[in-house]
C-alpha cells in the first residue's frame, strides 16, 4: 500500500493504484475476446455448410446482420446512458425513462391510429424513418433546453418533470392503442416490442454511420465529460460553459436513442444495466475507461443472450425480454441498496 502511494505520488492517474489499472485492462481484454468469440459463435454455430464454402458465407452473411444490429444497439444504449448519467448528475435515471420510449410509442401508435395498418407500413420507409428520428431529436432538444433553462434550479427537478411528461405521453398512447382493432394492434406491438431478430434492418445503412459518428464524438470529449460530472459550479469554475456542453451532449444522447429505438424498439433497462456494471468494473471517473467497457458489456450481453436463447432454447425472440428482466432486477437491487440517485 505504501509502495503504491509512493509510486502514484509522481503522477496523477485515472486509476487509484496500478492494480486498478491492471484489473480494468484485463476486463477490457476478456470482454473483447468474449465479444469476438460470441460473434464467431453466432456466425458459425450450427451452420450446415462446410466452413469456407459459398453456402457457408451466405448463411453467415445473414447472421452478420444480427451481429451488426446488436453492435449498434449496444453502442447506442451504453454511450447514451453513460453520457446522460454524467450530465444529469445521477446514475439511476436513464434516457429511456425520460420520455424517449414514450415518444416513440406515441409516434408509432399515432401512425397506426390515424392511418390504419397502412400507416404502419408507411412508417417503414426510409423517408419516414428519418422523419421519425428528426421528430424525436427535435422533441428531445426542446424538452432539454426548456428543462435546463434557469427556471429549474436542480437536476432532480428536471428529471422528475421529464419522467412525468413521459408518463403523460404514455397515457395518450395507451388510449389510442385501446381504440385499435386487434389486427392493427398486433402490427403495432411487433413494432413497439424490442426484438433483435426482427429488427428493421433496412435502416442499418443509416444507423451504423450515425451511431459511429456520435459515439466517437462523445469519446472525443471524454475528458470534458469527466469535468462535467463534477457538477455545474465546479465545471463552470474550471472553464466549461456548462449549459451549452450539457445541451450538446443531450442532443447526442437523443440521436443515439432515436437510432436504436427505431431499429429494434424500446429497451428500457439495457442502458442502465451496462452502465451500472461498467461503473463498478472500471472503478474510475474517467469516461475514456468507462465507455469502452460499457459498450463491450452491452455487446457481450446481447450476443450471449442471443446465442444461448437461439441455439439452446430456440427462443431468440426472448433476447430483449431476458436482458430487460435482468436489468430491471439489477435496478431494484441498486435502488434498495443505495437509497439515492
Amino acid at each position: 500500500m505504501a509502495n503504491a502511494s509512493n509510486a502514484a505520488a509522481v503522477t496523477t492517474s485515472t486509476f487509484v493504484t496500478p492494480a486498478h489499472r491492471r484489473r480494468w485492462l484485463i476486463s477490457l481484454v476478456v470482454l473483447a475476446l468474449a465479444a469476438l468469440g460470441l460473434t464467431a459463435g453466432i456466425l458459425t454455430y450450427d451452420n450446415p455448410m462446410p466452413f469456407g464454402s459459398d453456402g457457408f458465407w451466405k448463411i453467415a452473411q445473414s447472421r452478420i446482420t444480427t451481429v451488426l444490429v446488436i453492435a449498434v444497439v449496444a453502442a447506442a444504449h451504453s454511450f447514451a446512458t453513460v453520457a446522460f448519467h454524467t450530465v444529469t448528475f445521477n446514475r439511476i435515471v436513464t434516457p429511456s425513462i425520460l420520455g424517449f420510449e414514450a415518444l416513440y410509442g406515441l409516434i408509432n401508435t399515432a401512425a397506426v391510429f390515424f392511418l390504419g395498418a397502412v400507416g404502419a407500413t408507411a412508417t417503414r420507409g426510409i423517408a419516414s424513418y428519418l422523419f421519425q428520428v428528426v421528430v424525436m431529436v427535435a422533441f428531445a432538444t426542446l424538452l432539454y433546453s426548456w428543462l435546463l433553462s434557469s427556471r429549474f434550479t436542480n437536476v432532480h427537478t428536471m428529471l422528475l418533470v421529464g419522467v412525468v411528461i413521459g408518463a403523460g405521453l404514455a397515457s395518450l398512447t395507451t388510449f389510442m392503442q385501446r381504440m385499435l382493432d386487434p389486427n392493427e394492434f398486433d402490427v403495432l406491438t411487433a413494432r413497439l416490442m424490442g426484438n433483435i431478430s426482427n429488427a428493421s434492418t433496412q435502416y442499418l445503412p443509416y444507423a451504423i454511420p450515425i451511431v459511429a459518428v456520435v459515439a466517437f464524438w462523445i469519446l472525443a470529449r471524454a475528458r470534458r465529460m469527466d469535468t462535467l460530472a463534477l457538477g455545474s459550479s465546479v465545471a463552470t469554475s474550471l472553464g466549461l460553459n456548462h449549459r451549452r456542453e450539457t445541451i450538446k451532449v443531450l442532443i447526442a444522447v437523443s440521436i443515439l436513442m432515436a437510432m436504436t429505438t427505431s431499429l429494434v424498439g424500446p429497451m428500457t433497462f439495457l442502458g442502465f444495466l451496462v452502465a451500472t456494471l461498467a461503473y463498478s468494473i472500471a472503478d474510475t471517473y474517467s469516461h475514456r475507461a468507462i465507455l469502452p467497457i460499457a459498450f463491450l458489456l452491452g455487446f457481450v450481453l446481447l450476443t450471449g443472450a442471443y446465442f444461448v436463447l437461439r441455439h439452446i432454447f430456440y427462443a431468440q425472440g426472448a433476447v430483449t425480454i431476458i436482458v430487460e428482466l435482468i436489468g430491471g432486477l439489477v435496478f431494484l437491487i441498486v435502488i434498495m441498496r443505495k437509497g439515492r440517485l
Binding site: T12, V16, T17, N90, V234, T236, S237
Partner: protein
C-alpha cells in the same frame, strides 16, 4: 482589481440585490460579512460568473465575467461553493488534478503534476493524496477542495464560507493556509465569512452587506469599531482590545 458597476439581481420574486458599485483591490484577503440573507453568497457567485447579474457589469482582473470566454476566466479566477458532492468517487489527488483542467484540458503534463504536488503540499495533503474523498473527515475534504482551487493557479480565489463545518482547530488551520496563499503565492482571496473575529484577524479588508446593499467597505482596523459593527449586524457589539488585535463581543 474586481469592479462591480450598478450590479443588480432579483430572484425568488422578492429578494433583490443591489444596485452595487464597489471596487475590490488586488492582493490580500477580503471578507464578505453580514447577516443571513444579506446577499453575500449571491454577490460572490455573480463575481465568479456562476450566476448572471440582471443588470450592470462585473470585471475581474480586467475580464468582463459575462462576456469573456469561460476558459479565459477560469485561468483568472477560481470559485468554490459550499456544497460539493460528486456522483463519481475521486481520490484527493484526482480532485486536485481537475484544478488543472483550464490549463491542460485534462491531459496532465509535467508542469501540471508539479502544480498538483505543490498544492497538495501547501495544504498538508500529501499523505492523504490517494484516499477517496468519501473516506475523509469534513475538514480534510474541505482542504482538498481548496487545494483543487489553488492548483487552478488563478490570481483570484473566491470561497463561499470555507470554514463551514470545520471545528475550531481546523478553522484556524484553514485560515492560516489561506493567509499564506495570499502572502506567499500572491493570490487575491475573496470569501464569505460568518465569524467576524475570524474575518478581522486574517483579512485585510471587510466588505459588509445588508439587505442586498454594500453598507461598508474598509480595512479591518477601521471596521472593528463598536459603532460600525453594531450597525452592520443589527445588534450591539463591543470591542475588546486583545494582544492579537481587536475582538468583537456580541452577547
Amino acid at each position: 482589481m474586481i469592479t462591480l458597476e450598478n450590479v443588480t439581481k432579483t430572484y425568488s420574486g422578492e429578494t433583490t440585490i443591489g444596485p452595487i458599485d464597489v471596487k475590490i483591490p488586488s492582493g490580500g484577503i477580503t471578507s464578505l460579512v453580514g447577516p443571513n440573507g444579506a446577499g453575500k453568497s449571491t454577490v460572490l457567485t455573480m463575481m465568479g460568473r456562476l450566476m448572471g447579474a440582471d443588470t450592470g457589469k462585473i470585471t475581474v482582473g480586467g475580464l468582463d465575467v459575462a462576456t469573456s470566454k469561460s476558459n479565459d476566466i477560469a485561468k483568472k479566477l477560481a470559485i468554490l461553493r459550499q456544497e460539493n458532492h460528486f456522483v463519481t468517487r475521486l481520490t484527493v489527488r484526482q480532485l486536485v488534478g481537475f484544478g488543472r483542467y483550464p490549463h491542460s484540458a485534462g491531459r496532465l503534463n509535467v508542469e501540471d503534476e508539479q502544480h498538483i504536488n505543490s498544492s497538495l503540499e501547501f495544504l498538508n495533503l500529501t499523505a492523504l493524496q490517494d484516499r477517496y474523498l468519501d473516506e475523509l473527515s469534513g475538514g480534510q475534504r474541505q482542504r482538498a477542495y481548496v487545494a483543487m482551487v489553488l492548483a487552478q493557479d488563478t490570481e483570484y480565489v473566491f470561497l463561499d464560507e470555507p470554514l463551514n463545518n470545520l471545528d475550531m482547530s481546523h478553522s484556524v488551520q484553514m485560515m492560516r493556509q489561506l493567509r499564506k496563499a495570499a502572502d506567499e503565492l500572491g493570490r487575491t482571496v475573496i470569501m464569505v465569512m460568518h465569524d467576524i473575529n475570524f474575518a478581522s484577524r486574517y483579512s485585510d479588508h471587510i466588505l459588509a452587506m445588508n439587505e442586498g446593499q454594500v453598507t461598508h467597505f474598509d480595512s479591518c482596523a477601521d471596521t472593528m469599531k463598536s459603532s460600525v459593527l453594531s450597525e452592520i449586524f443589527g445588534t450591539s457589539v463591543r470591542i475588546i482590545d486583545d494582544v492579537d488585535g481587536p475582538l468583537a463581543v456580541y452577547f
